[in-house]
Symmetry: C2
Amino acid sequence: MSENKTNISELGEFGLIDHLTSKFELKNRNSLLGVGDDAAVIDISEEEAMLVSTDLLVEGIHFNLMYMPLKHLGYKAVAVNVSDICAMNGTAEQITVSLAVSSRFPLEALEELYEGIHAACAFYNVDLVGGDTTSSVSGLAINITVIGRAKKNEITYRSGANEFDLLVVTGDLGAAYMGLQVLEREKEVFKANPNIQPDLDGHDYIIERQLKPEARKDVIGFLKELDVVPTAMIDISDGLASEILHICKASKVGCYVYDEKIPIDAKTSMTAIDFNLDPGTCALNGGEDYELLFTVKQADFDKIKGNPHMTVIGHITNEQDGVYFIDKNGSAITLRAQGWNHFD
Amino acid sequence: MSENKTNISELGEFGLIDHLTSKFELKNRNSLLGVGDDAAVIDISEEEAMLVSTDLLVEGIHFNLMYMPLKHLGYKAVAVNVSDICAMNGTAEQITVSLAVSSRFPLEALEELYEGIHAACAFYNVDLVGGDTTSSVSGLAINITVIGRAKKNEITYRSGANEFDLLVVTGDLGAAYMGLQVLEREKEVFKANPNIQPDLDGHDYIIERQLKPEARKDVIGFLKELDVVPTAMIDISDGLASEILHICKASKVGCYVYDEKIPIDAKTSMTAIDFNLDPGTCALNGGEDYELLFTVKQADFDKIKGNPHMTVIGHITNEQDGVYFIDKNGSAITLRAQGWNHFD
């Protein structure tokens, strides 16, 4: 090991991946796309390609078993992977599951975890085809690789957005983040006095968004029914702002996003205000919504207009125009990502 | 969590995987084979299938950074995955790499790890197409998923061995295990007195077999040149005995394996004797050789006869005849696996 020591947190998660993988080139003609989108793309036939994505969830970093039931963890681990395939406009078909688990987990705990995995496989029509199970020195880590498939001419990359395209988001945002805040608050209360029952009343929706997020496979179906192929797409795992910047960077475009258009559920807003947080900021920078963010040609507006699952929140501009957040007073602020960085 | 608590070590690694995945059924018509072989098989075209396998390596369980340089770890993590694709008689083409790493690792350490991954990708002509990098509470864990491809009529499963087939192994066995013994011995010496330099003289071969194993991609090439499609195949990760039993169980056959035929390098034998170990036992139960074990029809014997990379070590019998190890005195002993169980 060299004498120079650079702390990995200096690069951030995306900077670190870019740095470590920059020397790698694709040499197989079947490797159509490597690192840098929601999934890799592998050639399999004239019409179709395979999509591959992988996610690693680590105890104490991505989940806390004090309030995350193992069944939910299993479900969520599958859902977030399926979400990556949705973000490419594809259909998830198979997963592999690798598990590192310390001996403090009894068999019954792993059965609960696999019940959640099984429920998600059933819901998303995905097959468990392989895996690896090993012990760990401490804690639980679960790595899922998902394999999907798409028609080549329907695959949506982050890089396909063009000037004048509309920016669309599915569902509502910020709920998973506010659910996490409620769970964290009740965890602290419980730690201070284990006799007090957690007060989760009225927070069912936002807690479910945190503990049992769903991949928007339904939206991929709606888009096909509407005959809309987005020009670019990404799923919202790190927060809306971060994902908008990913699309803009990959597509070499700018963007205007309108605060007043961002869909936020009333329960999310009320809880945010309770916590003295700005609901808009929660929607913009709270992560783990697993909604889809995509761009469509203006010509497709009539097809998605009024669809209860989709909201137009802005439009794509020229790269030189920059990426701006237009607040409720009409002021334009340069958009910055304040999403998750597990290395901070 | 249920009140019943069963220790996971009671099931062993294979028992645990079987138990946890027994409820899962394959529902997608493209999922040709799921859990239970060296790789899953996914349909992609009339002629070809995709092969998928995944392996999770955890610090303190699968490797010890005291004597495993990070560059070697990166190389080995790729090689053991490529080995799984070789075991299906396929060609590895892509990998994804997931990394959980604690903040005690500086950037330069991860660069070393990725140098090893890069070297293995170059050697095996495999593309890095995706991954995930996250922090961990403690230690390092690396999960690699490998994607390969094969002609459907050339894929070799564990289940294809038939009575009278010959049992063949590549290379020599037990070296990686003896390399580990030397490294462990020197680690203890070093812990007792850090001023003593490790004494690894004369152990280059066996240490390299432990620290830098190679997938036998070359053998897959030789088999194609010889026009031999094995009837069954598996790679030797857990020890020869364990893998023979896997083939026999999956193929519903018995087997006779001859002690005197098992290929052991002289350096392995000498080191084993030094350690008061029986070389045959090391070859039979030492793991991590990553050689290939396969069965061929007797009609193919002339094609592999005299090949320096392949040794016939036994033959397949009827299931009722059982699985026997014939020692140098001609005594038949029921073969048992004493391979690795990370949950012990």
